[in-house]
């Protein structure tokens, strides 16, 4: 979360202003009362006593005034404080006990409503962006497979034919070209799978994660041990996709930043809810680590399904863990 440097105040706070004015008014009225309405009494009474009573009365009025004003201004200050630190990606931050019993309370209630609206709008916008992104990935994956992949297959078949007729001195050349085409086909296939976790569509989350781990070792040189609870509840397609993408991103991060080539992936049924954890024994997060786009993407996906994402160092020696906790769902 970014924090702006706190600005210097260029005004007298409301509480002090109103309280100050009130004090002035009280003093003025006391002075007027004494001087205008009872000018002669001043000399005939003991001045000290009178002043003590007067000062005590004024002090009492001022204190009562400040106390009452505080109650009115309190919500406004809470509002300012919340507005400073509010983070739209973590829901549920509101001004507590806001009641529309005063203007300030009304403002607090309205502020809470505005936060709710902003969060909903942001949630919807993020949902649309991510859905569009998934749809685009699917389209590219299909296009790659249906067009480029098929054409490369045709080239490979043609080359096989050429090879069977080619004179002996050309055999090696044809074989070399065939290898290049096969590598190209393998790349197309790999990219299509990364874009679109077909295993998720086909086999469900547990198997898709197993496939992901297998591919991570092939592609990233990462040795991933997978442990998945047998009694996982149905998470629903959206949540499954989020879990898969978070695991994918987390494993990529391990391969890129941790400096080790071993990772643990667990998906556990923890009552209540389900938790995905990807951890490594690497160098851990750098101090003051700023959220990269990948991390931000993970958080946004998590927020969408009401899940909580934590990224933390396991202990002082290093090692990083990405935890995604999905609260319990009543029904799939």
């Amino acid at each position: 979360m970014r924090r702006r440097p706190s600005r210097r105040r260029r005004y007298i706070p409301l509480l002090q202003r109103v309280a100050g004015l009130n004090v002035l008014l009280v003093l003025a009225s006391v002075v007027i009362t004494v001087v205008v309405l009872a000018p002669r009494k001043i000399s005939s009474f003991a001045v000290d006593e009178e002043i003590v009573v007067l000062v005590a009365a004024v002090g009492l009025v001022v204190l009562a005034n400040v106390y009452l004003l505080r109650r009115v201004v309190g919500p406004v200050q809470a509002l300012t404080a919340l507005a400073r630190r509010v983070d739209l990606t973590s829901p549920g931050q509101r001004i507590s006990a806001a009641q529309p019993t005063s203007e300030a309370g009304e403002l607090a209630v309205t502020f809470n409503e505005m936060l709710q609206r902003l969060q909903t709008e942001r949630w919807e916008a993020t949902g649309r962006v991510l859905a569009a992104q998934e749809a685009e990935r699917l389209r590219i994956a299909q296009e790659l497979h249906d067009q480029v992949g098929q054409q490369l297959t045709a080239v490979l078949l043609g080359l096989s034919r050429v090879q069977s007729r080619a004179p002996a001195e050309l055999q090696d050349d044809v074989l070399a070209v065939q290898d290049v085409v096969r590598a190209g086909l393998e790349d197309v296939r790999r990219i299509a799978i990364e874009l679109r976790p077909e295993a998720l569509d086909d086999l469900g989350l547990a198997s898709a994660l197993a496939v992901l781990a297998e591919r991570s070792s092939e592609r990233l040189g990462l040795n991933v041990s997978v442990e998945i609870s047998a009694d996982l509840p149905q998470l629903g397609t959206e949540a499954e996709l989020v879990v898969y993408r978070v695991a994918q991103e987390a494993l990529t991060n391990v391969a890129r930043h941790s400096g080790v080539d071993v990772a643990e992936l667990t998906l556990a049924h923890e009552h209540p809810g389900t938790t995905l954890s990807v951890r490594d024994g690497g160098r851990g997060l750098p101090p003051g680590n700023a959220a990269g786009t990948g991390m931000r993407g993970m958080r946004e996906r998590a927020t969408l399904i009401g899940a909580r994402l934590q990224i933390r160092n396991v202990d002082a020696d290093g090692g990083c863990e990405v935890r995604l906790h999905l609260p319990l769902k009543d029904s799939p």
């Binding site: 949902g127 991510l130 998934e134 497979h145 297959t153 045709a154 096969r182 496939v211």
Partner: protein
């Protein structure tokens, strides 16, 4: 499982190449360039006779119903109906051909679905032409070209099916024919038939549109 046209002689007597000794092939692929490539490649092989190369599942069925076919080489993706549908249909013909699924994705759930569809082999589109020809000869001789399934896939399949379906799957994997499976499990042929279709539906990619959130349903 295969028609008697292929010579399964164990002690390989060199026979003069006659049309009758050739393996009759049907090629089904909806991509024109791949279809042409397959046809030309297979035609070059002396022991293959490409009876037809068609683009659709329906065209494949109408050929197979008219002409004897030994091996059908079928692309997995065929537009509306896929290669597994063709495989199931071909296997119900009076003298069914061997079926070889030719697919970009030769592993994963497709391997399991192909077992249920009673295909005899899956060949990757990323393989060499000679590998394809070898597999065609293998299945033409009545051998299965299915590779053993990775453990995670087996687990998944088991978790998806009920007890009886698991039994059916296991027997199919072992290459036991449907008549025996039905008899073993005390099912009628029609019962087993509908069960196989249901299993295939369960395994086949639902191609579900993943929506990230309900609110975004119409965003794509």
């Amino acid at each position: 499982m295969i028609t008697g046209a292929v010579d399964p002689a164990p002690n390989y007597v060199e026979l003069p190449e006659t049309r009758a000794a050739q393996t009759r092939l049907l090629v089904v692929d909806d991509h024109a360039a791949v279809r042409a490539g397959l046809r030309d490649l297979l035609k070059d092989e002396g022991d293959f006779d490409v009876v037809a190369a068609v683009a659709s599942a329906d065209a494949a069925m109408s050929i197979a119903e008219r002409e004897p076919i030994d091996v059908a080489v079928v692309d997995y993706q065929l537009g509306r109906r896929n290669g597994l549908w063709v495989s199931r249909k071909l296997k119900r013909l009076p003298s069914p051909p061997a079926v070889l699924i030719y697919s970009a994705y030769a592993d994963g759930v497709l391997a399991a679905a192909a077992v249920v569809a009673q295909a005899d082999a899956i060949v990757s589109k990323g393989g060499l032409g000679s590998e394809l020809c070898d597999q065609i000869r293998r299945v033409a001789r009545g051998h299965s070209g299915m590779r053993p399934m990775p453990a995670w896939l087996g687990d998944t399949i088991r978790s998806r099916f009920g007890h009886q379906e698991q039994a059916v799957f296991g027997m199919l994997l072992a290459g036991i024919d449907t008549g025996k499976i039905a008899a073993t499990l005390g099912l009628s042929e029609a019962d087993l038939e509908s069960r196989l279709w249901a299993m295939l539906h369960q395994l086949e990619a639902p191609h579900s549109e993943y929506r990230v959130a309900d609110v975004a349903g119409n965003a794509a």
